[in-house]
Symmetry: C2
């Protein structure tokens, strides 16, 4: 086991927040009073399914970096017709898009982060933009030292720059930083750039039983929750 890290970097969507339930709830809250009746979890899934392909356009250099709010909006307008929703005002579209700023954390997250904060520097290293992270932190009480990630690095995970720019922002070598995520792919890339890794089980990320209950790649720590990770790290 390597020496304990000095900073912990967190994936956010899925790892810290239950975006599927939150987006389903927000969409229902906004669209139902307008007379729409959708399969709300399916709407959340459809929106999220456009996430990787749109970011890939940026990662491949085919479109310049735009913050995730912009990509979410593009994807929203792409999926609404599939669910037969049309005629929303600019204000309604903006409000719906900002659902991603109003996601709720899994119950272990805020207590876990507060324990970890006593011993480690903490930052989100997510593809979500700064204002989105700030709103999630205010809503859920995430005690960040700084907001790092895609917007600061100017590219999207898993491009190397996002991990390495985050280490550099804290003046730390990759081996002194640990990526914490519920996605084995994220951890595989972080490890390939020298970061330590911790997997958090989120077996219900994409609905009941649809999520990683354990990592599919080698990791330094595998934990059932952030509180469990704090325990394993002695925090």
């Amino acid at each position: 086991m390597p020496a304990l890290p000095k900073a912990l970097f967190f994936d956010v969507f899925g790892t810290l927040v239950d975006f599927r339930s939150s987006i389903a709830d927000e969409a229902e809250r906004i669209l139902k009073p307008l007379g729409h009746s959708l399969d709300w979890p399916a709407f959340a899934d459809a929106w999220r399914d456009e996430y990787q392909p749109t970011m890939e356009e940026v990662r491949a250099g085919r479109v310049p970096f735009s913050k995730l709010d912009v990509l979410h909006r593009y994807n929203l307008e792409k999926i609404l017709p599939r669910f037969k929703v049309s005629g929303l005002s600019e204000e309604q579209l903006t409000n719906l898009n900002l659902s991603w700023h109003r996601l709720d954390a899994w119950p272990d997250v805020t207590p876990g982060l507060n324990r970890l904060k006593k011993q480690f520097l903490l930052a989100p290293v997510s593809n979500g933009n700064i204002s989105l992270q700030v709103d999630l932190a205010r809503r859920n009480g995430f005690p960040w030292d700084a907001v790092l990630g895609a917007e600061v690095a100017g590219d999207y995970k898993p491009k190397p720059r996002v991990y390495l720019a985050s280490c550099e922002a804290f003046d730390l070598k990759p081996q002194d930083c640990m990526m914490v995520a519920c996605h084995s792919g994220d951890l595989k890339h972080a490890a390939s750039h020298g970061l330590q890794t911790a997997h958090i089980a989120r077996p219900n990320e994409h609905g009941p039983g649809k999520g990683e209950a354990s990592p599919s790649v080698p990791v330094d720590y595998a934990a059932s929750s952030l509180e469990n990770l704090a325990e394993k790290l002695g925090a």
Copy 2:
């Protein structure tokens, strides 16, 4: 008077922290046991005096952006011979350079920020780098929502990009952001890009009676302390 802002941006060196006394104390703590006896406040002044000329090289595009820690180190090695200090080890030089991460806040700052946090988004918009701001925040209990400023913008104040990138990071128009500083020059530039402004009196920034007791440019608010600003903003 314009509508209240949604975010407050803070200058840090001078406005929030008493860098002169802190650097003098840190230099004495590190160099005195090595047998050096300097005019410690003069050493702090000399180090700070190199600050603007070195940043100007970056602002003018003559050297690529480097984080302020790098410029501080360059300036440190420039002034040490003037004070007849030589032969420091790499570890001692690094430790001395990191004095800028160990600055103490003026007494009104942490209580003032905690009051303001209830009503406004808060971020440092300083020329100090992210890791420096994180260390100052941990040391003094600054409750930032995000760390913005030079390193995120990739240039140094008062270049327009630093102010405007900070507004954009929070998805706000300049008129919904307020720059808070004890330097009229900083506020003049912020106002020229549409930000609201608040001046904080720091009459002893550069030693007794050497600092701005009041602004020399028009500002939206002039306050004697951060607690006084909180009062004026109804926070």
